[in-house]
Amino acid sequence: MDGDGEELTAQETALYDRQIRVWGADAQRRLSKAHVLVYGMKGTIAEFCKNIVLAGVGSLTLIDDRIASEEAFSSNFLIPPDENVYGGKTLAQLCCDSLKDFNPMVRVSVQKGDLSSFDVEFFNNFDVVVVSSCSLPAKKLANEKCRKISKRVAFYTVDCRDSCGEIFVDLQDYKYSKKKLEETIECHLRYPSFEEALSVPWKELPRKTSKLYFAMRVIEKFEEAEGRSAGEVSVADLPGVLKLKKELCAEQSLNESHVPDTLLERLVTSTLEFPPVCAIIGGILGQEVIKAISGKGDPLKNFFFFDAFDGKGIIENISNSNA
């Protein structure tokens, strides 16, 4: 529902005071009109949802038909570990119940179904789409559907394994303005789709490109080749993964040292999320979505990586123009 008139209500002003001081009343108004879709309710997404509900978006729609299990709430603070409460319900349903509590002004709801089953018209209901726990084909498909819509639908993927995390951003053709000292500067960014980004030959990327980028692509390809769902790998798959890595590096003429075996081992062995990384990635993602909705602030382009081992949070620009 759009806000009443153009002014923020007294209730909104009181609640959002501290963040209005960060991004302004105008941005807050735009947030209250935004509709966000989220797929895959694991720990990182739970963090992200918490952040944007607190920020005051117009609505949040959750998709995840998986039935709740003990594994689900190892990193997800939205799910009460009481079987009487969670028994039989889907992850989306449980998270929805908790999220509503955080901010009564945000409309939180559940959508049933598999991501691939929704058509372009469905995605047209949203301003932002965030997918996780998603296979490579499903990611590409969802991204393409979003790009078919005339109004811009911002598209994000997020993936956290072991103590690493990856965010992908696609804002398509994005124009925004910012103030530098007394001037207003007009900015224009052109984002590649997920498929386009992945098609950039590895050897054309800067030498120092984050190793995590390549490692994630190897595992993604492995899961696709083996017909697995996202995250459905274990240490038993390591030989197969390392073999695939060799093949891909040869194909891409990339020195194998760019994709360390130890990193791959980490990522296949513990596919569960690490709560501190969920908080970090969920926070960065939250901020990015807020920027895109409000039109304020430089959005990151187009990948973000974090690895708790070195503690760096790095932005990589993986696109053909390499601008």
């Binding site: 001081r21 920020a55 570990p81 926070g283 939250g286």
Partner: protein
């Protein structure tokens, strides 16, 4: 559930990953296998103290619980306010007014019912939190919002030899730092932005920035009209004409019983904005090199309204209760982001003043400014704006003025979440004693060399740090004029951050705070009022004073140097402390306070962040917000010398650009 196989698997793999980078020389860490089960064991058995259950605290408690921590103690003295709810997500509307520590605990137990969380609704500076208390913990995690408490905790952690993980956030910026006694810098080894102080003459006579007008409106005018009448107040303008006796001025501000409130209001208005300005103008010397202010009289601004005698009294606006009394409401002004005209400001001024007397009469005489007091904020905004108009300073909206007057930190949930994650990562390293892997991590708004999260190795302790290295300090002071109480308030408490100090001259105890034997109370009180050179054990040039805080277990030696004269503007305290990690208002090095509300407004070279900073909030001009907080201990201010504005901000020291400068003193 704690100890689940799935979770253990995650942590088994967590150890330092060897990687070489081009600037930071990371040592090759132990290989994987050697740290297999250590992380989860260390976490399970850890006893952690959190100080602060606010923005960072809520995120941190949640992440600690999810990460497998089972024994967490949390101290917070605050209760929940509505403005907390945009980010302190463990709290609900229904919790407003309740203890943050307790509610946070209850909320987390909902998704981790079997862990132990011990809340303390108390001030971390309370005596119960002594060194023995701190010693029971493996690590202390700070989520505080003021420098004072941070320094206090730093000293206790040093005394107890417990590692401290510090953190702070402001808007999109944040940082996490690790402090281990003897191994890394302590929290006070590096200079932190110090309390911003303004000479009293700037506030009373020659304001040049909006914040000066706010300080005047809040600490002088508001205090004079609605605060404790017995307090000293510098509302008088200093003029060369000594004939303006204080008795006349007192008469003006006191409202006689039968005095019509509208008349009273206009009288005050004309006195402070008209007469006082004319008086100031009469001192030619002041205005030689400055723009002259313009006196403003109510009849000139509100000429059309004055024609209706008492007409406004009838149009009374009904208010639900005394908390909703508001001049804006009364005058039909809705938007706190509007910038009011001089006329509107004047109307608000008079209406707010009237409403205080008619609707909140019992409060008059014992009010202190509270940023959540709508009427007070309206009054201070209007008063500051009118004064600003007088001095040619652009006005601010109520929203902005409130932020300045109330020392409001702008804050969002996302930054706190990121910082909380980083804190837990450092905590796990600390528990494993993995010293070489400790990092100071900075969360940036704009990437630096592709990094939004930038880890840096900690430094070795600063050998001249007076807190952790016991370096003696020097104090230049006029021992024939300054009193012991000046030394205690301005140096020992304000600058050295001691809470309950003890002052000794050799073996002679000059002063002791806190619980003192009856026969000593009078002696100490008398000593405070004595001039240094006239103390029972005289303090003169060459004397070495020992100051100590028993609770913080912190001792410091101060060499006294006698000096006759001090520069009133540059050294308003008439004291100069050296060897103390001095605040930097115009840093030469790369360290710079970033995006805190305490950016220097001295007009001196401002940290580089200002020129790079891209304003996201302000629609028209980039505004430098500065602090005008209502810090505890304000009662102790010495009104004669200056108005001390204590910086209660989260302080951030941003490192940017060349990392080379830091290589020299890195840990490894």
């Amino acid at each position: 559930m704690p100890g689940k196989a799935g979770m253990m698997l995650t942590f088994q793999r967590f150890c330092v990953y060897p990687q070489n980078t081009h600037t930071i020389r990371l040592p090759l860490a132990a290989s994987y296998s050697s740290s297999l089960p250590m992380a989860s064991e260390a976490i399970k058995g850890a006893k952690v103290l959190m100080v602060g259950a606010g923005g960072i605290g809520c995120e941190l408690l949640k992440t600690l619980a999810l990460s497998g921590f089972r024994d967490i103690h949390i101290i917070d003295m605050d209760t929940i306010e509505v403005s907390n709810l945009n980010r302190q997500f463990l709290f609900r509307q229904s919790h407003v007014g309740q203890s943050k520590a307790k509610v946070a605990r209850d909320a987390v137990l909902k998704f981790r019912p079997h862990i132990n969380i011990q809340p303390y609704h108390a001030n971390v500076k309370d005596p119960e939190f002594n060194v023995d208390f701190f010693k029971q913990f493996n690590v202390v995690l700070n989520g505080l919002d003021n420098l004072d408490a941070r320094r206090h905790v730093n000293r206790l952690c040093l005394a107890a030899d417990v590692p401290l993980v510090e953190s702070g956030t402001t808007g999109f910026l944040g940082q996490v730092t690790v402090h281990v006694k003897g191994k890394t810098e302590c929290y006070e080894c590096q200079p932190k932005p110090a309390p911003k102080t303004y000479p009293v003459c700037t506030i009373t006579s020659t304001p040049s920035k909006f914040v000066h007008c706010i300080v005047w409106a809040k600490d002088l005018l508001f205090a004079k009209l609605f605060g404790d009448k017995n307090q000293d107040n510098d509302l008088n303008v200093r003029s060369s004409d000594a004939a303006s006796s204080s008795e006349n001025v007192e008469d003006v501000f006191v409202r006689r019983n039968d005095e019509d409130i509208e008349q009273y209001g206009k009288k005050i208005f004309d006195h402070v904005f008209g007469y006082n300005i004319e008086l100031a103008l009469s001192n030619e010397e002041t205005w030689k090199n400055r723009n002259r202010p313009k006196p403003i009289y109510s009849k000139d601004i509100l000429s059309d309204e004055l024609a209706q005698p008492n007409g406004n009294v009838d149009k009374k606006c009904a208010f639900d209760d005394e908390f909703s009394v508001s001049a804006m409401k009364s005058l039909g002004m809705k938007n706190p982001q509007d910038i009011w005209s001089l006329k509107e400001n004047s109307r608000i001024f008079l209406e707010a003043l009237r409403l205080f007397f008619t609707h909140r009469g019992k409060d008059v005489g014992n009010l202190t400014f509270d940023k959540d007091d709508q009427l007070a904020v309206e009054f201070v905004t209007a008063a500051a704006n009118i004064r600003a108009a007088s001095f040619g300073i652009p006005p601010y909206s109520l929203f902005e003025a409130k932020g300045i007057a109330g020392n409001i930190v702008h804050a969002v949930a996302t930054t706190n979440a990121v910082i909380a994650g980083l804190i837990v990562i450092e905590t796990i390293k600390v528990l494993q004693n993995d010293i070489k892997s400790y990092r100071m991590t900075y969360c940036l708004e704009h990437p630096s060399r592709k990094m939004l999260l930038m880890p840096v190795e900690p430094f070795e302790p600063n050998k001249s740090c007076y807190v952790c290295s016991e370096t003696p300090l020097s104090l230049e002071i006029n021992t024939k004029r300054a009193k012991l109480k000046d030394f205690v308030e301005k140096i020992v408490k304000a600058k050295l951050g001691m809470n309950l100090p003890l002052i000794m001259n050799s073996s002679n105890l000059l002063y002791e705070a806190g619980d003192v034997e009856d026969d000593m109370v009078a002696i100490y009180s008398a000593n405070l009022e004595k001039v240094l050179a006239e103390l029972p054990s005289p303090v003169t040039g060459g004397t070495m004073l020992t100051v100590e805080d028993m609770q913080q277990e912190f001792v410091c030696n101060v060499n006294i140097k006698h000096r006759e004269e001090f520069d009133e503007e540059k050294e308003p305290d008439s004291m100069v402390l050296s060897g103390w990690t001095q605040h930097v208002s115009a840093p030469e090095n790369k360290d710079k306070p970033a995006a805190n509300n305490g950016a220097s407004t001295s007009g001196a070279s401002v940290p580089a962040v200002e020129s790079d900073e891209i304003s996201i909030v302000s629609p028209t001009k980039k505004r430098k917000l500065t602090n005008v907080p209502n810090a505890p201990g304000n009662e102790a201010r010495n009104h004669q010398d200056e108005l001390q504005v204590i910086d209660d901000e989260d302080d951030l020291v941003m490192l940017e650009g060349n990392m080379e400068g830091f290589k020299k003193r890195k840990l490894s």
